[in-house]
Symmetry: C2
């Protein structure tokens, strides 16, 4: 168990868990950079006025208060002056884009991996501090549709490179839903979406009743909306199924065209990974085109581990509008599951591949010199803390998973692989551990062994 937490909602990892987390973060960064996304970080705080603009999550904002602040500041909330911790990376990114628009080149592709904070009630068992990894591309005034195809595929690639089970990216398109609802005469598009979003909770009959009671649908309209929500698939047949329901509109056609384009590009890259699922309604109230959710196969109870979509207006300063497409991975949630279920483990909790033994304290400098020569060639190396008996020094290495112990000798050095017990003469200027042992690695659990 690499996870630990003495403060509910604020996870911390032991060193072996951190090796897994660092591997995940490095791997995400590598994929994002291969695709040309520039890394940025934003400050952890935003003015409360910014944070309050996103309704739902605003309730969970952590406000900052200086300990020495006059007490009359504490009571009233001055939204312009007061600062809160950001609860996602989208609000800060939108602010960053507006603030630095003159110095950025558009379309601007950025990734951002940072902690965010949400003051959820601890009894919900949710994280109050967690890491998100976001990619977004944002244009000035316009942003071509093809980014709606590319970004979920970058995320699918990024997730596939991680030591995790396979993922499924489920997609929908606001234009399909809106075009369809309007074509069948359901004018309250947002109300309908909010109700469809309750399918998992209340079932189709419950949704039909709510559509009639609260959104003003006729029984036929409710039935049609449910038929649309029932459609899923991985290819152009999805569009055929929708059209077979009989409704038509230019917006619906446009949405279906986009959906099919996404499915076809995804099929070329990674067949079966991207699935159109027309019951997805979450986020369709603020997304304006494609919308994405991602589940970890076999861990559907986690909910979506990577979500996002297209905004026609990620940000706007009155003069210009900045449309965007982006997705966000909930890294901490994913990692907590990896560590809880031992889906991925570190081969050792420390970087060192070698421990240089110390014969006696008078010769410590000699051991330091060996270590320096190994490090100069990129081999992470530790030196024994005390010139104890060799058995004890070997146990020091063993407890940390350090595979090799180096014995300096007057007549030449020797190195021992403490796993096999094999000990051979070695020269610190030329010897190297096997590639596999150089750095701690993260290995996937063998699914067969887990059964």
């Amino acid at each position: 168990m690499a996870r630990t937490s003495s403060l509910s909602g604020f996870p911390e990892w032991l060193p072996d868990g951190r090796v897994v987390e660092q591997h995940v973060l490095d791997s995400l960064r590598r994929t994002f950079e291969l695709h040309g996304f520039a890394g940025i970080e934003t400050r952890a705080v935003e003015p409360l006025s910014q944070l309050l603009r996103k309704g739902e999550t605003s309730k969970e904002v952590y406000l900052l208060q200086r300990l020495q602040e006059e007490s009359d500041d504490a009571g009233e909330v001055d939204a312009e002056r007061r600062l809160g911790l950001h609860f996602d990376l989208t609000v800060p990114f939108a602010r960053y884009v507006l603030e630095h628009a003159g110095q950025l080149a558009f379309p601007f592709k950025r990734y951002q991996i940072q902690k965010v904070w949400r003051g959820e009630r601890p009894q919900d068992g949710r994280f109050r501090e967690f890491t998100q990894a976001d990619i977004d591309v944002v244009g000035a005034d316009t942003l071509p549709f093809h980014y709606e195809v590319e970004l979920p595929l970058v995320m699918a690639e990024a997730l596939t490179a991680l030591p995790i089970p396979p993922v499924r990216v489920s997609v929908n398109n606001r234009k399909v839903a809106q075009g369809f609802y309007e074509a069948i005469g359901l004018e309250d598009v947002e109300g309908t979406l909010r109700t469809i979003d309750k399918l998992d909770k209340v079932g189709p009959e419950g949704v039909a009743r709510l559509l009639m009671d609260e959104v003003g649908a006729t029984p036929e309209q409710a039935a049609h909306a449910l038929e649309l929500a029932d459609i899923s698939g991985t290819d152009a047949s999805v569009a055929d199924q929708v059209l077979a329901l009989g409704a038509r509109s230019p917006l619906l056609d446009e949405g279906l065209g986009e959906l099919v384009a996404l499915l076809e590009a995804a099929h070329e890259l990674s067949p079966g990974t991207v699935v159109a699922d027309l019951k997805i309604a979450r986020g369709l109230d603020y997304y304006t085109g494609s919308v994405y959710e991602t589940t970890l196969l076999g861990h559907e109870d986690l909910g979506s581990i990577c979500s996002g979509g297209r905004y026609d207006s990620l940000a706007s300063d009155g003069r210009r509008t900045y449309p965007g497409v982006g997705l966000s991975i909930g890294v901490s949630r994913l990692l907590a599951r990896l560590l809880r279920d031992d889906l991925a483990t570190a081969t050792r909790p420390v970087p060192s591949a070698v421990l240089v033994a110390v014969t006696d304290e008078e010769h410590r400098r000699g051991s330091d010199r060996v270590a320096r020569r190994l490090r100069a060639r990129g081999i992470p190396t530790d030196v024994a803390p005390v010139a104890a008996k060799y058995g004890k020094q070997i146990r020091y290495a063993d407890r940390r998973g350090i595979p090799f112990v180096w014995f300096p000798g007057a007549d030449g050095d020797e190195v021992k692989d403490i796993r096999s017990g094999e000990q051979v003469p070695a020269d610190a200027g030329t010897w190297a551990p096997p590639e596999n042992d150089l750095l701690p690695r993260v290995v996937r659990a063998d699914p067969a062994a887990a059964r």
Copy 2:
């Protein structure tokens, strides 16, 4: 100018500045790992009761308050229940060690690179959010002296690997100061240290007066304390100078032995980098052995960019005591100077080495396929956002510093180095950019050119 900030004290970098920052962080991590330090992160918050234990800085704590919290919570401060943002990485590390002692192997060597927050008054022009990079080694009950030699040398190596001017590590030892003061009859060791710490501000005469007025020193004792503070050097002659002042005590001898051992080891590794400076008093009230400060040559006005020392009790749970040695780099302060003075700059603000042009939107998939083949071989690649005229696509690359533009062609592809204008036939399965162009690099300013 890669720096920007719309909120005083909360620095943010443009993408080119972030390339420099990421390079610095990667480089530090690499050095720390080569020396066997395990990376950890702690949560950003600690209970206020923990944070209030470190007097001076406690005033600057940012308290957290949930927006929806009952208003009567806001007024009174319940130090056990209330949470604040950490203001350094030492307090959280001490808590982490106590909390997880049963699962850690001691001596435990860890590095930790994280943001910290201090609610300083904005008019001071100080950072309220900044990154620190700490290394510490902590033992259970005992910790050998040799770590006091090794840790500052690890930091010197880490700093030397950065694209910054040379550094000087100044060292002192609490045992030397205390042993000396006690030997000359100055019993108020801490008061004397606090006064000596004012040397730069009030000068030797001012310090002599304060020692007499406030610490109860005789004129002779004050003169002796100033003579000690005047001593500096890079080798064993420092001890000779101290002994020449006539005072002797076992504690003084022990301190001088430690100081000389540190200087001699440092001399072997990097002559001239480590200097004993016996006027250093900062931190000697809580450090119990060696103490370190680091200045960037030519930028002494920055103050110490990396400080630390030995604690006999970094943490204690009543049963066990955990002595430690550690140092902390103020990364943001260092970085702000690098960027302000253009001491280090990124060769480009984006990861991409190649932009694949798009002939027309119908052939975008073909360009995507080229990009995929290049990425599969580790070459960061972007694809043109729009199938505009080639001249415009080349300008897209040029504005981002992307050195190569790839032109897919029915009869074979070509790649153009847009700096030289040279264009050659190329195959996406074999072509690679020169090693120097593969990733953005960080280059030091040429000091000669700056003159």
